[in-house]
């Protein structure tokens, strides 16, 4: 293994002397994805390509004298991002970086990407969880999308490098995003359920929930919060309505409202009275 000897990689720039202190980094430089890409494109770059002029750092080896990619004591986030963007700002997925919530909250490239790794891909979702603690907790709840099973990546739904949308989702609206995997819920239906059509997140918590089906609240409560009506929608369902209660009721036990209402996402039945 090894495309260029370490000394050659450094000799292309004025960075000789880096290996004196950073021998491991220099020796493994050829195995990094950056080195592979540069070599593949016929370019030669050394430490200075990312770390800037190192002369002052060699003379006085403090982090203040070099572009240092680390949270504690590292260089200013703006400077670090600017250095990466010097090459990457025209990438299609990066074009809106400055509009991203990440950029505006002082997240820089190195917070997610390990520049000296052999592959460029970010270790999702682990890396995302280092900041998004509430999401880490959510995706581990009993009802969740298969994120911790590595079947759905954070970047399947979000463009972490910036979009014009809220929460940096990759589609124009939440529903259009969800329909990509749940095409059976697209419709068009003869009978529609307005909140379903407006925003899936009115009823569902997409990262995870303690309630089944990623619901934001338990059935029948989530239904009754909107459907107070004559007869059974306005009826209180208390502990007496369970299997072990004094008056078991199929509007409460097991799947509750869903025991009868099978088309809550919309119905294509010509006859509405059947509710199926």
């Amino acid at each position: 293994m090894g495309l260029l000897p370490a000394s050659t990689a450094l000799a292309a720039t004025a960075g000789e002397g880096c290996a004196d202190c950073h021998q491991q980094m220099v020796n493994s430089f050829d195995t990094t994805f950056h080195a592979k890409i540069w070599k593949g494109m016929g370019e030669q770059h050394g430490c200075q390509a990312c770390h800037g002029d190192t002369d002052a750092h060699v003379a006085d080896p403090t982090m203040q004298n070099v572009l240092a990619y680390q949270a504690k004591g590292g260089s200013a986030v703006d400077e670090l991002s600017a250095k990466c963007l010097a090459c990457h700002d025209s990438d299609t997925h990066m074009s809106m970086w400055k509009m991203s919530q990440h950029s505006r909250n002082d997240v820089s490239c190195f917070n997610c990407h390990t520049m000296h790794a052999t592959r460029g891909a970010v270790d999702q979702p682990t890396k995302c969880f280092t900041c998004h603690r509430e999401i880490k907790v959510a995706v581990n709840k009993q009802s969740h999308h298969p994120i911790i099973e590595n079947k759905i990546m954070c970047t399947d739904c979000h463009n972490t490098h910036g979009t014009a949308t809220q929460h940096m989702i990759k589609e124009d609206t939440v529903n259009q995003l969800c329909y990509q995997c749940h095409a059976e819920k697209r419709g068009p239906f003869i009978w529609e359920h307005p909140p379903v059509e407006e925003n899936c997140l009115i009823c569902h918590s997409p990262h995870g929930s303690r309630h089944a089906k990623l619901l934001a609240e338990k059935i029948p409560n989530i239904c009754q919060d909107c459907h107070d009506w004559s007869q059974h929608p306005g009826t209180p369902y208390d502990a007496s309505r369970g299997f072990n209660g004094s008056s078991p009721n199929n509007r409460f036990f097991a799947r509750s409202c869903l025991n009868c209402h099978g088309a809550i996402h919309g119905s294509a039945n010509f006859n509405h009275t059947l509710r199926q």
């Binding site: 592979k36 509430e134 590595n150 529609e192 409560n221 909107c226 036990f253 039945n269 009275t273």
Partner: protein, 687 residues
């Protein structure tokens, strides 16, 4: 099992030529991991294997990277031969072209060993012999389970120019059985719905990119096919065949454009996005094997929905201290679907004219950030949103005004702190037409029901985030958030909900010997709702659909429900290097517990009984793994995992397949509890 062996051999065959081809004058690395796994799950719970295939037998993964000159090739396979296997391959020539192929299988197991009196599970016809369902002991067993298989590919060509073209295609196949409701006031039947969907997508993208500008055009064609448009089932209460309608097939097309311009005056970047999408379907009543209701106006349905989106964003940094973001977003759903009408048999014409929903949203805002002394930054923002809805009389339109203030400080190199406060005021207009409706009609209550998703409300939100770096080897983090929604105009519906969330984590490195990490979280939610129990017009004096007056009938009464959810979790993980570069011990422990409770108060004569087990569960997971490296190329992994899940809920406690004379259930979601042990041994060879 046979399939798994075949997959392992196929994977080996795939790697070998790629390795051989790439090995000549190229950089090649990768790994192959093979082993065996034993699983002890006596409960045979679907929840344990919800998205996983955890069976006894062989397991394997592989990874291969090859680079030769300007060309690269990456290949990866996980869970080879199992029902949750996935593979992907990437390659290309740097700066010229790149391609990607992928295949993924994901199971979704809902419930194992469900049972039904029907025959024909998985087909579009469910029937039973005789005049009544067989006794429960003779029911047929089946699994509620779905398998998704997705495969696709993508090719991007730029040939080293600023122009590029990307084309991608994918197919998602979804097959299995999931629970469906059937029945009416005469009786309810839970039954297996056949799932056999295919979604085919074709993506196109073309564009131009330079240092100062990106322009892209995108297109998507997507078709959804369903091999079961209906489910015919024999109603055991009516002793007649009924038809449930399953998701309709549809076609979706979308075009979009994006223009982003950088390096504009005041260090600005401007982006403009627009898209237009059309969703269509068409089917006839005969496609669905339905009998036409009386006076049906047409026997076919043409559905058409148009989505239009526009967004413009301008970010600037006119001075070193000041930055800004201005944005406007517009979203519109236009529903042009057919109006269907018929006589409901009671002499009334029913129509979907009031059910076809469309809306438009205008959303505009400005954020301003200013760098203050002492490594501080203040940010303020304002957002205006207006939503106009058709066929939503309870929320014909609403106006949201949101403001926020955020302060951040990182003066100390040991601490970064961020505090954000935001406030939302929502003003909603209704558009009821209650002409001719009196307070003995059920419809009269509509004006008193305010729905939490769109009704008037105010929301306060506080978020605090702290990152500590007390030592070079120790990171600590803390997040706290408080959210309070006050639905101040509500008569019936949710009146208030409050949330407190706290999260902590840490990571500590002790030289190369120990990595120790941990996290904890606590969430509590309180939601309060007012409701009205009544049967419009019935009894003496007649019950009124007006919760604000006393109709004198004790059968109509107001009641209140307060729901409290508590959730907490913690976890610890460690990596201990027992022998440097040779022996490593990995230990982790995770625990979570959820407690729900619902309390009632009522003006009715009969006290209501609180619900004290409401989505209560606990989940534990322990993993211990020893990794011994014989060399840099060869290591062996020996691991053990213990998982336990306990679920308690009054809606499922004492589960009964035939709880009363008007209900037949199948056991959907009734088998959650499990306790399982997993042991595995793998050998990994890296090259």
């Amino acid at each position: 099992m046979k399939r798994r062996y075949i997959s392992l051999i196929a994977a080996a065959l795939l790697i070998t030529p790629a390795y051989a081809m790439a090995a000549d004058e190229a950089a090649v690395n990768g790994s192959v991991e093979l082993g065996v796994r034993g699983v002890d799950d006596q409960d045979n719970s679907a929840k344990f294997q919800e998205y996983r295939d955890l069976d006894d037998g062989l397991i394997g993964n592989f990874l291969l990277d090859a680079y030769k000159g300007p060309y690269y090739f990456e290949l990866q396979g996980d869970n080879i031969g199992l029902d949750d296997q996935d593979y992907w391959l990437k390659g290309g020539q740097y700066g010229k072209f790149k391609y990607k192929l992928n295949y993924d299988e994901t199971p979704h197991n809902y419930s194992f060993d469900a049972k039904t009196f029907y025959s024909g599970v998985g087909t579009d016809t469910l029937s039973f012999s005789g005049a009544a369902p067989a006794p429960e002991a003779n029911w047929n067993s089946f699994d509620y389970s779905i398998e998704r298989k997705k495969y696709g590919g993508e090719l991007e060509v730029s040939l080293g120019t600023p122009f590029f073209v990307k084309i991608g295609a994918s197919r998602l196949e979804t097959e299995g059985v999931k629970p469906l409701a059937g029945g009416d006031f005469g009786g309810t039947v839970e039954m297996p719905e056949p799932v056999d969907y295919q979604t085919n997508d074709l993506n196109l993208m073309a564009g131009y990119r330079s240092k100062t500008m990106n322009f892209t055009l995108t297109g998507l064609l997507s078709s959804f096919d369903n091999n079961n448009l209906y489910l015919n089932w024999e109603n055991p209460f009516a002793l007649a065949t009924e038809t449930s309608i399953l998701p309709p097939e549809n076609d979706y097309g979308k075009i979009g454009a994006n223009l982003t311009m950088r390096e504009l005056p005041f260090m600005s970047t401007f982006s403009l996005n627009g898209s237009y999408a059309k969703l269509e379907d068409d089917f006839s009543i005969s496609d669905l094997t339905l009998t036409a209701p009386l006076a049906l106006n047409q026997s076919t349905f043409d559905g058409e929905v148009i989505y239009t989106n526009l967004a413009a964003v301008l970010v600037s940094q006119p001075t070193r201290e000041l930055d800004s973001r201005l944005y406007y977003r517009y979203a519109d759903k236009e529903n042009n679907s057919d109006i269907i009408s018929y006589d409901n048999g009671l002499g009334t014409i029913e129509s979907n004219a009031t059910d076809l929903f469309d809306y438009s949203k205008d959303d505009a805002g400005i954020d301003l950030g200013y760098k203050l002394p002492w490594q501080s930054k203040a940010e303020i923002g304002y957002e205006y949103q207006y939503v106009d809805r058709h066929n939503r009389p309870d929320a014909a339109n609403n106006t949201d005004n949101t403001v926020f203030l955020q302060l951040k400080n990182s003066l100390s190199e040991y601490v970064t702190a961020k505090l954000k406060y935001s406030h939302l005021e929502r003003d909603t207009d209704t558009d009821f037409d209650l002409t001719g409706v009196t307070d003995t009609d059920a419809e009269y209550i509509a004006q008193f029901v305010q729905r939490y998703d769109a009704t008037d409300k105010s929301r306060d939100e506080i978020k605090l985030s702290l990152e500590f770096y007390p030592l070079d080897t120790l990171d600590l983090g803390l997040d706290y958030s408080y959210i309070m929604n006050d639905y101040d105009e509500v008569v019936l519906g949710r009146t208030e909900d409050t949330r407190h969330h706290v999260y902590l984590d840490f990571l500590w490195h002790h030289f190369n010997f120990l990595n120790l990490g941990g996290f904890a979280g606590y969430e509590t939610t309180d939601a309060d709702a007012d409701h009205y129990n009544f049967a419009a017009g019935s009894g003496v004096p007649p019950q009124l659909a007006d919760p604000t007056v006393d109709d004198g009938n004790p059968s109509s009464y107001l009641w209140n429900q307060e729901i409290e959810d508590n959730f907490w979790t913690y976890g610890l993980s460690s990596q201990i290097r027992l022998l440097e570069d040779a022996l490593k011990l990995v230990l982790s422990w995770e625990y979570q517990k959820s407690n729900g409770k619902s309390t009632f108060s009522s003006q009715g004569a009969t006290p209501l009984l609180d619900l004290d087990a409401y989505d209560d569960y606990s989940k534990k997971r322990l993993e211990a793994k020893i990794v011994y490296a014989f060399s840099k190329q060869l290591d062996i992994n020996l691991g053990y995992v213990f998982e336990k899940y306990t679920y308690k809920d009054l809606q499922y406690e004492g589960y009964d397949y035939t709880p009363n004379a008007s209900t037949y259930l199948t056991g959907a979601y009734a088998d959650y509890d499990y306790e399982a042990n997993i042991a595995y041994l793998t050998v990994r060879y890296g090259f």
